[in-house]
């Protein structure tokens, strides 16, 4: 799909001036220098894999939200905003905020108190090696494949936007990431994510500011959208979800609330180790609880630099954009809306900053993938199953080596995808299949001490299997199965994903409960620090109201609720 896009698109969207090239080049040199500086600090396993567990709530919170703020994410959701309108905001609000607050207030204490180094590590403590191995192996494989897919997709974007050679983009960016992550481990990854956070905001914020000036504010923008696309509602969040046919996504509000809000979002933000690892690096339990809540405020603001540029594209771009799969020569795809808006408003200097933000987002995403892979491989696969007892220095060395090995596998994946572009869709879909059921397994394990070891494994397996089955049926015989699983034949890909996640999570929960009822529970003494009823959780009773995570969790939810009403 992206190869076609590269071939069909105009020669290049933007041309960089010397000052822009300097800005981009400086970024590469800067992150490498920081990586070599941090190498002297990452000496033990806890340093390399968990950044010494000494990050403040702010650093952990920004890294937590940045790990999900890659450049493909930015361009993809800006494109979705152009295609579906403000409905895409659901993935930033109902699809993130409640889950982030839930992670901070309810789940983080268990991850932190159990002193686990990863989500599969928690499953090992709670359920034993079977569920942990299933989760660790699938996470490791899928993470590294996803990294390769993203690497290739970004190289194609660089070709389309800047005219850069695909091989050059893949090798230069991935080797830079490999060197600085192998040097400083999670320290490097987190530092880069914080830098990327600032770059993305300052690189992209001018687009909505200048766009609002050009259109004369929100009302002016809405008027122009109605003028350009008469009869379509692109600017209401919940109203058009009353019926499947009333919105371009073909989704009903039940899919948004239960599929996205309760299954996909909870699964991703609370059990995907790539993001949870950032919070595990916090210096104490209060910081670990605050980090996702701090992140939630920034996450709520991200639509300003992602969704609003997509909507502004509907209002001000002189041409219409089209799906990448159906592109004619000279046309642009939805995913190009952000670079197009960047080129519309930004001249030399600002353009370099915007492009650096995109490159930084890509590199930070790759760093997140390889650092999470290194941790899960070393601590959840290599140590328990291959070499149980070895000095700490050996595991750090293993982490460094498998960072580079993981990176080379990613590069190999990128070249495989280059030859068979359709693989990309399957890899992305496959990754999503594990997330929603895993939430059911982890949550039941935390809240119900009766859940047995066998129940954890079989519930997770059933959830993943049901997800894969639904995906295959809807993919290969959509006319027969889409209306069965997604409740309407009008459901598009994103809507199908929501219902698939919901049913697979429910399958996991039902099977886990049923197996629990016929198997023997673990003794209470083995579950201290792992289960709600057997774990004393500190509640900051002596802290002032403004220092309590609960206070800020409530504030975050209140702001979120007000935003829903404003854009209803």
């Amino acid at each position: 799909m992206l190869t076609t896009l590269a071939l069909l698109a105009a020669p290049r969207l933007v041309r960089l001036a010397p000052v822009d090239l300097f800005i981009v080049s400086f970024y590469f040199a800067f992150v490498l220098a920081i990586g070599f500086y941090l190498k002297t600090k990452a000496k033990t396993g806890e340093d390399f894999f968990l950044a010494g567990r000494e990050m403040t709530a702010w650093v952990a919170g920004l890294a937590f939200v940045s790990a999900n703020l890659g450049s493909l994410e930015l361009m993809g959701w800006a494109g979705s905003a152009y295609q579906y309108g403000i409905l895409a905001t659901h993935w930033y609000w109902v699809g993130a905020i409640p889950a982030m607050v839930f992670l901070g207030l309810v789940m983080m204490p268990f991850y932190y108190i159990s002193k686990t180094h990863s989500v599969p590590g928690y499953l090992q403590l709670r359920y034993g090696p079977e569920a942990s191995a299933l989760s660790a192996v699938t996470f490791a494989v899928m993470t590294i494949l996803m990294s390769g897919v993203n690497m290739y997709a970004m190289a194609v974007v660089m070709k389309v936007v800047l005219g850069w050679n695909i091989n050059f983009s893949i090798w230069v960016s991935s080797l830079t990431v490999g060197v600085y992550v192998a040097a400083g481990g999670l320290f490097s990854a987190i530092f880069n994510e914080v830098l990327q956070f600032f770059l993305i905001w300052f690189g992209a914020l001018l687009i909505p500011i200048l766009g609002m000036v050009e259109t004369g504010g929100w009302k002016g923008m809405v008027a122009r959208i109605h003028e350009n696309f008469p009869g379509q509602d692109f600017t209401h969040l919940w109203g058009p979800t009353a019926h499947f046919s009333a919105n371009p996504m073909g989704i009903h509000w039940t899919g948004v609330v239960f599929g996205l809000g309760c299954a996909v979002s909870m699964g991703y933000w609370t059990t995907d180790f790539l993001v949870v690892q950032r919070v595990l690096s916090a210096k104490d339990i209060r910081s670990a609880k605050m980090a996702p809540i701090i992140g939630s405020f920034f996450k709520m603001a991200v639509p300003l630099i992602v969704i609003l540029p997509g909507l502004l594209g509907l209002a001000v771009l002189p041409m219409h954009l089209f799906p990448a799969s159906n592109l004619q020569a000279g046309q642009h795809s939805y995913n190009e809306v952000l670079p197009l808006m960047l080129a519309r408003y930004c001249g030399p200097g600002l353009l370099g900053l915007g492009i650096t933000a995109l490159v930084a987002g890509f590199m930070a995403g790759m760093a997140g993938n390889v650092s999470a892979f290194a941790t899960v491989w070393t601590y959840d696969i290599y140590r328990p199953f291959i070499r149980k007892t070895a000095p700490d220095a050996h595991y750090v060395s293993m982490g460094r080596w498998c960072t580079m090995i993981g990176l080379f596998i990613s590069i190999g994946t990128a070249y495989v995808v280059m030859g068979f572009a359709s693989i990309m869709d399957y890899v992305q879909a496959l990754f999503g299949m594990f997330i929603a059921p895993l939430f059911g397994t982890v949550l039941l394990g935390m809240l119900w001490k009766r859940v047995s070891r066998a129940a954890g494994f079989w519930g997770l397996l059933a959830g993943v299997s049901s997800s894969a089955t639904m995906f295959a049926l809807m993919k290969f015989d959509p006319e027969r199965w889409v209306h069965v699983f997604a409740l309407s034949p009008l459901a598009k890909g994103l809507a199908q994903d929501m219902y698939q996640a919901l049913w697979s999570c429910l399958t996991c929960v039902v099977v886990t409960v049923l197996v629990t009822l016929v198997t023997k529970p673990r003794p209470d003494q083995e579950l201290h620090g792992l289960v709600y009823s057997l774990t004393p959780v500190a509640h900051e009773e002596h802290a002032s109201i403004w220092h309590k995570p609960l206070t800020w969790g409530i504030v975050a939810m209140a702001v979120w609720a007000v935003l829903q009403i404003i854009f209803w």
């Binding site: 001036a17 000052v19 300097f22 800005i23 400086f26 970024y27 800067f30 920081i34 500086y37 941090l38 600090k41 340093d47 010494g52 000494e54 990050m55 403040t56 650093v59 320290f187 987190i190 530092f191 914080v194 830098l195 600032f198 770059l199 300052f202 001018l206 200048l210 000036v213 050009e214 210096k283 001000v316 080129a343 519309r344 408003y345 930004c346 001249g347 030399p348 200097g349 600002l350 900053l353």
Partner: protein, 72 residues
């Protein structure tokens, strides 16, 4: 974040980056002032005030989080 390893705060690195980029963008905005590029709203000279904003913010971060400065 820095207590155990004595690592330079990440905010200092953020400051260096913003300061350098701010100066570059500000200067390039001044250079192109008489002949702005063919972008929409180029008459607002966004690089000048955006570059100035980055410079001020970067300078503040560099100063406030400079290595060796004692913090409570």
């Amino acid at each position: 974040m820095t207590e155990n390893h004595h690592i330079i705060p990440v905010w200092f690195f953020v400051g260096v980056m913003l300061l350098l980029y701010g100066i570059l963008i500000f200067v390039s905005g001044l250079v192109e002032w008489p002949h702005p590029p063919a972008t929409v709203l180029s008459n607002l000279h966004a690089p000048v005030w955006w570059g100035a904003l980055l410079t001020v913010l970067g300078g503040f971060y560099c100063y406030h989080f400079r290595p060796g400065r004692s913090r409570p």
